[in-house]
């Protein structure tokens, strides 16, 4: 496995510090190499050990000890790795479990055959040694050695006999003189393997024949060691690997030795037998140490294999689990939303390909996420825009005075606005999703049904009718319009049903009619009033003195003048109502108008507490004079209801989205009776004693002239709430 692991900045790299791990690997490799090298060296030194002497083998012992120390070191390193693995597993470090499984598998696969081999080898070794030393080998070797010895002993005896035979023929004077060859004559009749020696202790005095370089010194050693004949006539023999000798003592005390050299081939065989014999007995003697030494070597080798295999298992497991661990960590980070993760692991094997695929996948995911976020952002913007539009439409539908009901293609109510809820007397929660025939009142349903049939029959997209419909317990004039909704290809989608309350418009028409009447009345009545007034005054001036005793004259004329004055005031009011000019709209601060009016009102009615609130009305298009008048009328109306004591709240608020201004006056007085509400803004309708019934009609006219409306409802918890609504900046 050729891997090259790198450490990156924010990227995920192999967890363990590579230098440390690398050092460990190098240490283990060096230890293994040293163990191997020292073992070979020891084996070599052991071969020459016997020649250098036992005490000189200290070096070998040292090497053995070093070897053992190194094996212990190897065991330590492997054990340390194993403990580290166990610790990682307990800490639930990613990859520790699979790594420990792999190590166990590798170790088991190496342990089982190694132990089996060890047992087999130890058994075979023991069996072989025992069979060798306890079998017939010893007997055979002993017999072979005995045969060789007997042969040599026979030769030695013949040599001894030969020496005894010729010893009387040896004259010391003759033999020992230099240049005399008579000694060699004694060998006449013998083969060329025979040698004669005359020796004095360890010194050779005379020699005939050649016994070899080693034989003579050995015989000399024998004689020195006291092995020679001790008296005349005493015959002794000596055998060696390559010779057989017999010796007799000569009369002069010298020793005559007859030596027979053994043929080289026979001598070699004899040596082999002797060496085998020696080895056999040594093995027998050293049976236990030999077996112990073999088993010790086997144990060392087994341990070495086991720990080397364990370490190899750890190494291979790490090679396998490092990319897996990286992948697991990377997957966790990706699951946590970090798509910038990149695994730094390079290898030309499948793991490298896997890591590369992972990196490519995270890159793709990142790109897809970016695209998705972009699409989501776009969708969100679109949704917000749609939401804004929907809200805008809903706001419009909520705030417009037209009641709107939207039906889908199946006739189910899809939407109903607030005004429609009020007008039709149904709640949106009840009506939405229901068929309109189930949700609406019979009269309302019938109207819509008839118009929808008409739109279906006519093929027009819109129809409208003015009908009388029951609203709030009374019949009012309503304009109902149906608009068919169609998609781009003309497919029917549903209906939009709009109910316009025409009562306000009719009121306006009434107001206009009343204005005309008022104008004519004022014109017709005002004209004769002045002559009447002048006539009455003339009567008082001309005839007052004559009728000084007649109080009826003065009372009548005063009454005429008084009533004419009242009629004039009434006509002025009529004239003002009839001649209300069109408003002159200028941009100004409606709040300031409100505050000023309220201040004047407060000074006039100190018993009434009046709070004024205004918001966003500093730049409103309005007629200040008319608006002040309308507000004054509303306040006067409230003051009349409160009868000089109570609380008033005046608010002037603009809705910035709709640019719609609402001016409200709320009191905590007795409120307005339900039956009076419909007529409250009609001219000449008044419940006040001495009221002209034009104050609220003027308010209604001003609101209408500003493009708005005025309404009244109960104030909670008590009192009445008058609301005048009009656009802040009316178009046109």
């Amino acid at each position: 496995m050729n891997s090259n692991q790198q450490v990156g900045g924010s990227d995920i790299s192999p967890e363990n510090a590579p230098p440390k791990q690398h050092r460990e690997r190098i240490a283990i490799a060096i230890v293994a190499a040293i163990v191997l090298g020292l073992t070979l060296l020891e084996a070599n030194l052991a071969t020459i050990g016997s020649s250098v002497g036992y005490s000189g083998n200290i070096v070998i012992f040292a090497l053995i000890n070093i070897n053992v120390i190194l094996i212990v070191l190897l065991i330590f390193l492997v054990t340390r790795n194993v403990f580290k693995l166990i610790l990682d597993r307990k800490r639930n470090i990613l990859g520790a479990k699979i790594r420990s499984r792999l190590v166990i598998m590798f170790t088991a696969f190496s342990l089982i055959p190694t132990i089996l081999l060890f047992i087999a080898a130890a058994s075979i070794t023991t069996t072989n040694i025992r069979s060798w030393i306890g079998g017939r080998v010893g007997v055979a070797l002993t017999d072979a050695l005995e045969i060789a010895r007997k042969d040599l002993d026979a030769d030695a005896k013949s040599m001894a006999e030969f020496a005894s035979y010729i010893s009387p023929k040896i004259s010391p004077d003759k033999i020992y003189k230099p240049g005399v060859d008579s000694f060699s004559d004694l060998l006449v009749g013998q083969d060329n393997l025979t040698t004669l020696l005359v020796m004095d202790g360890g010194t050779t005095l005379a020699r005939a024949g050649d016994a070899g370089a080693k034989v003579t010194p050995e015989i000399a050693s024998w004689l020195r060691g006291g092995g020679g004949p001790k008296s005349a006539g005493n015959v002794v023999t000596l055998i060696g690997d390559s010779y057989a000798a017999g010796a007799v003592m000569l009369p002069g005390g010298h020793i005559l030795v007859a030596v027979k050299s053994i043929l080289p081939e026979q001598a070699r065989r004899t040596r082999s037998i002797k060496e085998a014999y020696d080895e056999y007995h040594q093995v027998r003697l050293l049976d236990d140490p030999i077996r112990a030494s073999y088993i010790a070597v086997l144990i060392l080798i087994t341990l070495l294999i086991i720990f080397a295999a364990s370490w190899m298992g750890i190494y291979l497991a790490r090679q396998i689990t490092v990319p897996i661990q990286l992948m697991a960590e990377g997957t966790l980070r990706v699951a946590g939303g970090d798509l910038d993760v990149r695994l730094e692991y390079q290898s030309d094997d499948e793991f490298g390909y896997l890591v590369e695929s992972f990196n490519r996948m995270t890159g793709d995911l990142k790109g897809m996420k970016a695209n998705l976020e972009e699409a989501n952002s776009s969708l969100s913007t679109t949704y917000e825009e749609l939401e804004r539009r929907t809200k805008f439409i809903e706001t419009i539908l909520t705030n417009i005075s037209t009641a709107v009901v939207v039906l889908d293609r199946h006739g189910r109510i899809a939407m109903i606005n607030r005004i429609a809820e009020q007008m039709l007397g149904v709640s949106s929660g009840f009506a939405i999703g229901k068929l309109y025939r189930d949700a609406l009142l019979e009269e309302h349903y019938e109207t819509v049904r008839i118009l929808s049939r008409e739109i279906g029959a006519s093929g027009n997209q819109q129809v409208e009718r003015q009908v009388e419909l029951p609203v709030g317990g009374k019949n009012i004039s309503v304009r109902v319009s149906l608009t068919a909704l169609k998609d781009e290809v003309g497919g029917y989608l549903g209906l939009v049903v709009a109910f316009d309350d025409l009562s306000q418009a009719m009121k306006l028409q009434k107001v206009l009619a009343w204005r005309e009447i008022a104008r004519r009345i004022a014109h017709e009545i005002r004209n004769p009033l002045t002559p009447i007034q002048l006539s009455a005054e003339r009567l008082q001036r001309k005839f007052g003195a004559d009728h000084i005793d007649d109080p009826a004259f003065d009372d009548c004329t005063q009454t005429i003048l008084s009533e004419v004055g009242t009629l004039k005031l009434l006509m002025d009011e009529f004239t003002r109502f009839a001649r209300m000019p069109s408003p002159t709209l200028t941009e100004g601060d409606l709040g300031e108008v409100l505050r000023n009016t309220v201040e004047i009102f407060k000074s006039k009615y100190p018993g009434i507490r009046c709070d004024a609130v205004s918001e966003n009305v500093s730049d409103i298009l309005f007629d200040a004079f008319q608006m002040r008048r309308a507000l004054t009328n509303l306040l006067e109306n409230a003051a009349a209801a409160l009868r000089g004591t109570g609380n008033l709240t005046v608010k002037c608020v603009r809705n910035p989205d709709l640019d719609w201004v609402r001016l409200s006056v709320a009191d905590d007085g007795p409120g307005v009776k339900e039956e009076d509400r419909g007529h409250l803004f009609e001219p000449y309708f008044s419940r006040k004693e001495g009221g002209t019934g034009l104050g609220l009609a003027i308010v209604s006219a001003i609101a209408s002239d500003h493009g708005g409306t005025v309404s009244v409802r109960n104030n909670l918890p008590k009192g009445a709430l008058f609301e005048m609504e009009f656009p802040g900046h009316p178009k046109g």
Partner: protein, 130 residues
């Protein structure tokens, strides 16, 4: 040991002799020493013990004679400084196995066995000049 010798194993003894001047309350002064190495090997074919002493080999038929040759010493050790009458001197002798000659295949075994780890304690004797 005899059994090992009979098995053809060559056994070599190294004897160390040290002569010291006894100094009471202090370390003895070394005056001279000698190392004597003797080895013996049994020849199973000729049934002769080959004793090597003083560099010369002797063939001996009797085992006791061979062992006696291994353990009896007559040595002259030069000493310095010269001994003085009245002083106390000490001789220490120690013998240990110097070499074990095993046959070729068995030589490596000795590293795993304490069989040959033979060394005597120091034998001490006191001398005085007459």
């Amino acid at each position: 040991m005899v059994e090992a010798l009979k098995s053809g194993i060559e056994i070599s003894f190294k004897t160390v002799i040290k002569i010291e001047k006894v100094r009471h309350g202090w370390v003895n002064e070394s005056m001279g020493d000698a190392e004597i190495t003797r080895s013996v090997r049994f020849d199973a074919l000729s049934r002769i013990y080959r004793l090597v002493r003083a560099g010369k080999e002797e063939l001996i038929t009797d085992i006791f004679e061979a062992l006696a040759g291994m353990t009896n010493y007559e040595v002259k050790i030069p000493v310095y400084p010269d001994p003085v009458r009245g002083n106390s001197y000490r001789v220490r002798v120690r013998t240990k196995i110097d070499r074990v000659g095993l046959t070729e295949p068995l030589r490596s075994i000795i590293f795993f066995s304490s069989f040959w780890d033979v060394e005597t304690e120091w034998a001490r004797g006191y001398l005085a000049l007459q």
